[in-house]
Amino acid sequence: METLMSILIGLFFAIGTYLILTKTLLRIILGTSIISHGVHLLILTMGGVKAGGPPLLGFEEITFTDPIPQALILTAIVINFATTALFLVLSYRAYKVIGTDNTEKMRGNEDE
C-alpha cells in the first residue's frame, strides 16, 4: 500500500508541478492545491498506514494507527487552507489591478 501510495503521491506532485509551471494564475493555484493533497497523503503514508484502528480510545482496538501524522496533517490542512484563501484573493486582486492573470506579464522588468 505504502509503495502504491508513494507512486500516487509522486503523480500528484508531477501534475501539480506541471500546473504550477503554466502561466495562468488560476491553474497555478489549482496546482498548489493538488500538491497539497499529495503532501497530506504523504505525511499520512509516511506515518505508516492501516497499522490498527482509528486513534480513538474506548473502542475495542488494542493497536492504533499512528496519531501524530494525523495531527500534523490537520494542522497542515488548516494552514494550507488559509494560505490558499489568501493566495486566491491576492491573485484576483492582482488580476484586477494589473489587468492580467498571465504571470509572464507580471515580470515587472519594465520600470514603473
Binding site: 504550477i20 494564475l25 497555478i28 498548489t32 500538491i35 497539497s36 503532501v39 504523504l42 505525511i43 503514508t45 509516511m46 506515518g47 505508516g48 501524530i68 501524522p69 500534523l72 494542522t75 497542515a76 494552514i79 494550507n80 488559509a82 494560505t83 489568501l86 493566495f87 491576492l90 491573485s91 486582486r93 492582482a94 489591478v97 494589473i98 504571470t103 507580471m106 515587472g108 514603473e112
Partner: protein, 492 residues
C-alpha cells in the same frame, strides 16, 4: 521549566490581537506595539543572562516531556537572535510611525507587524521540527499580508510570486517532515539528534537532510533567492527593512540549527554542499549588486551576499566559523535593516531609486549621509565596525576547514559589496547638490532616531565587540556541542 521562553511569542501575539480590537485608536496602537517589542527585547536579554549563568533554558509546553510535547529551548544562539530581532523590529517600527501612512495604519499594519515578530521569535525558540513549520507559517502569512498591504501594482505583482514560492517551500518542508518522521519517528530536534547519532547518519538520513537544506535555502535565499529582489523592493521602506533584517535570517537559523544539532555527522557531504551553495550565492549576489544603478536592487542583492557569507561559516563547521557566523548574523540583521531604512529615505527624498537621477544629498542631509557611510563600511566588514569580526572569523573558519576558495570568495565579494554600496554613497550623497530642501519629495523628520539607533549599534558592535563576545562564544560553543542542547531538552 522556564515560562519566560514563551513570552517572546505570546507578548506580540496577544498585544497584536488586542490592537485589532482597537483598530481606530492609532496612537494607542503605536504605543502598544513599541512597548510590546521593547518588552520582548527585555525578555530576550533576560534569557541571555540566564543562558550565561545557567546554560540552555527550556520549556516543555503544556508540561509534556520531550519528545512528546513541543519543546521550546533557548540557547545563547537563539537568545542573541531574539534580542537582535527586537532591536531591529523596534527600529523599523519607529521608522514606520512616521512613514507608513494613515491608511496602512488603520488597516492593521501594527498588529500584523507584531504577528511577524511572533513568527520570527517562535522560529528562533522552538525545538520541534513541525512547530518550526508552524512558526514559519505565522511569519510567512504575516509577511504576505505586509507585503501586499496597500495593494499597489508592484506590491501585488511581487506578492504573487513571493506567496507562490513560499507556498512551494512550505510543501517541501512538510515533505521533509514526512520523510524524517518515517525514518526516525520523532519530531523533537533533540530527540532527532539523539536518534540520528544512534543510527549513524547513513545515506538515507543524509539525503533527508538535503531535502531540508533545499527547503530552508528557499527561505533563507541560499542560491534560491530569485524571489528576493522583487519582493524586497515592492513594499514601503519600513516593511522592506524588517524583511531584509529578519526574514532570510530565520531560514538561516533553521539551517544552522538543523545542521549543527541533527545532521552534523557527514560534513563532507552536507556542509560542503552548503559551502558550495553559499559560494554560488555570494558570487551571483555580488554580480547582481554591481550590475544595477538602482538603490533598491543594489540593496537587495546585498542581502543575498550576506546569506552566502554566513553560510560559509556554517560550512566550515569549526568553532571559529561558528563564532564568525553568529557575529555576522547579528551584524547582518542590524545592518541590512539599517541600509534599507536609509536607502528608503533616500528614495523618498529624491523621489527616485535611480542613482543617475540623484546627487549631492550630503549638503542638505549630512547626518544621513555619514550614517549611510558608516553603514556601508560596516556592511563591507571594514573594521572596526560590526561586520569585521564576523568576517575575520568566518574566513578563519573556512581556512581552517581548508575551504580556501570559500573564504576567498567571501573576501572578494566583500570588496564588491563595498563597491556597490559606495556607488550609492558617491552618487546619492556626493556630487553637485541640485535638490534644495524645499524641492524634496519627503522629509527626514522623525525618522533619524531609528537610523541613528541602528548606526550606533553597528559601531558599538564593532568597537565594543568585547561586550558580547562571551555571549557569542557561548552561542558558538552551543552550536558545536549538540549534546548540551540535548541534555537541556531532556532534563537530567
Amino acid at each position: 521549566m522556564n515560562n519566560l521562553l514563551i513570552l517572546p511569542v505570546v507578548i506580540p501575539l496577544v498585544m497584536g490581537l488586542l490592537m485589532v480590537l482597537f483598530r481606530k485608536n492609532i496612537t494607542l496602537q503605536k504605543i502598544v506595539s513599541a512597548a510590546s517589542i521593547t518588552a520582548t527585547g527585555a525578555v530576550a536579554v533576560l534569557l541571555m543572562i540566564q543562558n550565561d549563568q545557567d546554560g540552555i533554558q527550556t520549556l516543555q509546553i503544556g508540561g509534556w516531556q520531550a519528545p512528546f510535547g513541543i519543546t521550546y529551548a533557548a540557547d545563547m544562539f537563539s537568545s542573541l537572535l531574539l534580542t537582535t530581532t527586537s532591536i531591529v523590529a523596534l527600529s523599523c517600527l519607529l521608522f514606520a510611525f512616521k512613514t507608513i501612512g494613515e491608511e496602512r495604519e488603520s488597516y492593521y499594519f501594527y498588529p500584523v507587524f507584531l504577528f511577524l515578530i511572533t513568527g520570527v521569535n517562535g522560529s528562533f525558540l522552538t525545538g520541534d521540527l513541525f512547530h518550526l513549520f508552524v512558526c514559519f507559517e505565522v511569519m510567512l502569512i504575516s509577511s504576505y499580508v505586509l507585503l501586499s498591504l496597500g495593494g499597489t501594482r508592484k506590491q501585488l505583482r511581487e506578492s504573487v510570486k513571493y506567496v507562490l514560492i513560499n507556498l512551494i517551500s512550505s510543501f517541501l518542508f512538510l515533505v521533509g517532515v514526512a520523510y524524517i518522521y518515517a525514518v526516525v519517528g520523532t519530531l523533537n530536534l533533540a530527540d532527532l539528534s539523539v536518534k540520528v547519532a544512534e543510527a549513524g547518519q547513513g545515506g538515507m538520513l543524509t539525503a533527508i537532510s538535503l531535502v531540508f537544506l533545499i527547503v530552508f535555502s528557499l527561505k533563507a535565499g541560499l542560491l534560491l533567492f530569485f524571489w528576493l529582489p522583487g519582493s524586497y523592493s515592492a513594499p514601503p521602506t519600513a516593511i522592506a527593512a524588517v524583511f531584509a533584517g529578519l526574514l532570510t535570517k530565520v531560514g538561516m537559523y533553521a539551517i544552522f540549527r538543523l545542521f549543527t544539532l541533527v545532521f552534523y555527522h557527514e560534513p563532507q557531504i552536507t556542509h560542503l554542499l552548503i559551502g558550495v551553495l553559499g559560494a554560488v550565492t555570494m558570487v551571483l549576489g555580488a554580480i547582481g549588486a554591481v550590475a544595477y544603478g538602482d538603490i533598491k536592487k543594489i540593496l537587495t542583492y546585498n542581502v543575498i551576499i550576506g546569506v552566502g557569507f554566513i553560510m560559509a561559516g556554517l560550512a566550515s563547521m569549526s568553532i571559529a566559523g561558528m563564532t564568525g557566523s553568529v557575529f555576522y548574523l547579528i551584524h547582518d540583521m542590524i545592518i541590512k535593516a539599517l541600509i534599507f531604512l536609509i536607502g528608503g529615505t533616500i528614495i523618498s527624498l529624491t523621489g527616485t531609486s535611480k542613482l543617475e537621477d540623484m546627487s549631492g544629498l550630503i549638503r542638505t542631509h549630512p547626518y544621513l549621509g555619514w550614517m549611510f557611510f558608516t553603514a556601508a563600511l560596516a556592511l563591507a566588514g571594514i573594521p572596526p565596525l560590526s561586520g569585521f569580526l564576523g568576517k575575520v572569523f568566518i574566513t578563519q573558519g573556512t581556512f581552517e576547514a581548508e575551504y580556501y576558495w570559500l573564504g576567498g570568495i567571501g573576501l572578494l565579494t566583500s570588496l564588491l559589496v563595498l563597491y556597490s554600496i559606495m556607488k550609492i554613497f558617491m552618487n546619492a550623497f556626493w556630487g553637485e547638490t541640485y535638490l534644495s530642501e524645499e524641492m524634496e519629495k519627503g522629509s527626514t523628520k522623525g525618522i533619524m532616531v531609528p537610523i541613528a539607533l541602528l548606526t550606533g549599534l553597528a559601531v558599538l558592535l564593532g568597537v565594543g565587540a568585547e561586550g558580547i563576545s562571551s555571549y557569542v562564544n557561548l552561542a558558538a560553543e552551543g552550536l558545536m556541542n549538540p549534546e548540551l542542547y540535548i541534555k537541556a531538552v531532556f532534563g537530567e
